[in-house]
């Protein structure tokens, strides 16, 4: 009896092992790993999007895994080294082009862009998604111009609301200085140059570049220019202004919290997602109900150049042509097809192209006044320099430089050291 039972159990186990292959359909299974880009990090939303794709493409099954920015890169790198990389990844060119693409892990997607696509996808985005050899490692889906935010109520109380051009969301460096001086009379923490780590670090770079017209790299993205006289002047201004504190203990996310709590009067890490956030109050309000206005960064002539955020899909070259084809079908569906409007709306950002297979994407948010108003910032999009080789090291050197300056180091010396480290990383 026992032998019979053992035999039956063994047969069940063998059958169970064999079952998946015996009953498997012909569907190609691909995996997508996505960073939390808007609601692309929310399972219910993504499940719905994937269900739509699978219904339209019955021969492809998609398994999704969700990454966090805190440890997502480590997971992907470990998977790459272990030969278990996903088929698809959703993130921006700084990872897909400058990192994994440069290291030879990504599939060239150039064949997915015909003349119509090239006419529809915004040109600066095409450049950002393409490496120096003309290989396309990212198919962009959505984009945003990062900006800053001010507490309008505090500005009004300090009598400096007039420095803000709220119609165009612009202001000048002179207005910024006047506002900070006035606000600092009642608040010692007007704003923070946060520099603990990479979260939201684009804000500090763009602020410093815009104040006196500096740039972060040269136009060819081959050398860093953060030690230029314009940038040094901007850094000196921030050191000298009362109420502006270099804070190595917080990152961009924590700065946003402090701004929402009313501790800071300005936030340098802001975008549409923040402006429409309703976690603790209505959209566009601090936790205490003060009015928040999103603004371009201050510039001498008021014409700021904002940092762009670009997100899209890339394919890891796992050597399986069927999976690569399936992954391309996936990208076509969400980046230039039936699923594009849903993919963009899930991100909460702006479309990366004007049309997608005959669908006009420019009116996607016509019924959303905040997003429509935010679109005014898009023409201010500046240079996307995050594709410089060795970006990870340069990025770390940037916040180390801010930490040094905050501790009283010589500004020119600290900036020179940053440029030396960053250029070495870039191979310049």
């Amino acid at each position: 009896m026992k032998k019979l039972l053992a035999l039956a159990l063994a047969l069940i186990m063998v059958f169970a092992l064999a079952a998946p292959s015996a009953f498997a359909d012909d569907a190609v299974e691909i995996t997508l790993w996505t960073y939390p880009i808007g609601q692309w990090g929310t399972q219910e939303v993504v499940d719905e999007l994937i269900a739509g794709f699978e219904a339209a493409n019955p021969g492809i099954k998609v398994e999704v895994q969700y990454l966090a920015y805190a440890d997502g890169d480590d997971k992907v790198n470990t998977a790459l080294e272990g030969g278990n990389a996903p088929d698809l990844i959703m993130e921006g060119p700084e990872r897909l082009v400058a990192n994994w693409g440069a290291k030879g892990y990504m599939v060239d997607l150039a064949d997915m862009w015909d003349d119509t696509d090239k006419a529809e996808i915004f040109e600066s985005l095409q450049d950002s998604c393409t490496n120096a050899d003309g290989k396309v490692f990212e198919y962009p889906v959505c984009m945003i111009a990062h900006c800053m935010a001010v507490n309008v109520t505090r500005f009004e109380e300090a009598g400096v609301a007039d420095v803000l051009d709220r119609e165009n969301h612009t202001w000048t460096t002179e207005g910024f200085i006047k506002a900070v001086n006035a606000l600092s009379e009642t608040n010692p923490n007007v704003a923070a140059i946060y520099c603990s780590g990479q979260g939201g670090d684009q804000g500090t770079r763009v602020l410093i570049n815009n104040l006196y017209g500096g740039t972060f790299t040269n136009p060819e993205h081959t050398a860093y220019t953060a030690n230029s006289p314009e940038n040094i002047k901007a850094l000196q201004l921030l050191v000298d202004l009362p109420g502006i504190n270099f804070d190595p203990a917080i990152n961009g996310g924590e700065e946003i919290q402090l701004f929402r709590q009313g501790i800071l009067d300005m936030a340098f890490c802001w975008n549409l997602i923040q402006q429409t956030n309703t976690d603790n109050n209505d959209a566009g309000r601090t936790n205490d109900g003060d009015e928040i206005e999103f603004m371009a960064f201050p510039a001498e002539d008021g014409n700021a150049k904002l940092g762009l955020g670009i997100w899209g899909f890339g394919i890891f070259d796992n050597g399986d042509a069927a999976k690569i084809d399936a992954a391309k079908t996936f990208i076509k569906y969400f980046a230039d097809g039936e699923g594009t409007p849903g993919a963009i709306k899930a991100s909460g950002f702006s479309p990366a192209r004007s049309m997608a297979e005959g669908q006009d994407l420019t009116q996607l948010f016509a019924d959303d006044p905040i997003t429509t108003e935010y679109m005014k910032l898009l023409p201010m999009g500046g240079d996307y320099y995050q594709v410089v080789p060795g970006w990870a090291e340069a990025r770390t050197a940037w916040w180390n430089m801010l930490q040094q300056i905050g501790e009283g180091a010589d500004i020119q010396a600290a900036a020179d050291e940053f440029v030396a480290v960053a250029n070495a990383a870039a191979g310049a």
């Binding site: 290291k103 923490n189 190595p248 402090l258 090291e393 916040w399 180390n400 905050g406 501790e407």
Partner: protein, 301 residues
């Protein structure tokens, strides 16, 4: 007799084989996850090994080790790590022994309650611990600034984790609270196992409490002390999670530790060979210090 010996040998052989078979699973995991990675770490440290699909590892001999000696960030991280070890190990041991001595003679329920209180930070996840400490250290609304300002000790807020003067000491304080739990439990147990007949004999002979402690108890808990010294040293050398979650090595590299710098080099800069060379140096330092502690412990014993 001869037949009996033969059977006995067969029995011994069977028992030996059975013993090794029982060891096999542990041995497999030990070799796979400890010995092999250790060997690969040493091996890779002699190569310029980077991430990349077509990247080729180049043998550079002691090149990575030479670079380490000139790397200011590594030397700074080594200094910070040594400060953590030198401060943390004696204070953890002394404090644990003091607490254990104080609570071991209390009522059993009270002793257990104290053991639970001191052990709580050990069983609480690192992330939860750091979130609470980060809140307490907060520059804008942290409880330390509130208390110190209320007490008139400081005039304006201190950015505890954002000021190079304080950041490392803040890390050491957190490490201290998460490190004392296990030594206290071990010391309470060791003090409970001290031979009471010796203590009573010493007391009959007129020994004071201090003499009883140092002459009788201290000698008997020496193996526990040795174990605590070694695990606290290793834990202090491997301080990583607190740094990663609280300061990322900042401000201005003031809280970089070797473990964090290894992580940064290997997983952010993808320089595997260089990161492994640091790992080997760390391994050697820990091994040498542990050996010295063993030797001193045995001598004292």
């Amino acid at each position: 007799m001869g037949k009996s010996t033969g059977m006995s040998r067969a029995l011994v052989r069977r028992e030996t084989i059975a013993g090794y078979l029982f060891l096999l699973p542990s041995l497999f995991f030990f070799v796979t996850f400890v010995v092999y990675p250790m060997f690969m770490c040493i091996f890779t440290s002699f190569f310029d090994s980077n991430m990349g699909k077509n990247a080729v590892d180049t043998f550079i001999g002691f090149g990575n080790y030479k670079e380490l000696l000139q790397d200011k960030v590594f030397l700074g991280a080594l200094k910070n790590t040594l400060i953590i070890v030198v401060v943390s190990v004696p204070t953890v041991c002394a404090f644990s022994l003091w607490v254990a001595s104080a609570i071991t003679d209390m009522k059993p329920a009270l002793t257990s309650a104290f053991r639970v209180i001191f052990y709580l930070p050990v069983v609480t996840g690192s992330v939860a611990v750091t979130v609470v400490w980060k809140w307490m250290y907060n520059n804008y609304y942290g409880i330390f600034n509130y208390l110190f300002k209320s007490a008139g000790i400081i005039e304006k807020n201190i950015n505890w984790l954002g000021d190079a003067k304080y950041a490392l000491w803040c890390i050491i304080l957190i490490l201290f609270t998460t490190s004392v739990g296990q030594p206290i439990v071990l010391y309470v147990s060791a003090l409970g196992n001290v031979d009471h007949s010796l203590v009573e004999a010493a007391e009959v002979d007129g020994a004071t409490r201090t003499q009883v402690f140092w002459k009788i108890k201290w000698a008997q808990i020496m193996p526990t002390t040795l174990y605590i010294l070694i695990i606290t040293t290793i834990n202090s050398f491997q301080c990583f999670a607190l740094i990663q979650l609280l300061t990322s090595g900042g401000p201005n590299h003031s809280t970089d530790t070797i473990m964090y710098y290894i992580y940064y080099t290997a997983f952010k800069l993808y320089r595997y060979g260089y990161g492994n060379a640091m790992g080997v140096v760390l391994m050697i330092i820990i091994a040498v210090l542990s050996a010295i502690q063993f030797k001193l412990g045995q001598t004292s014993d």
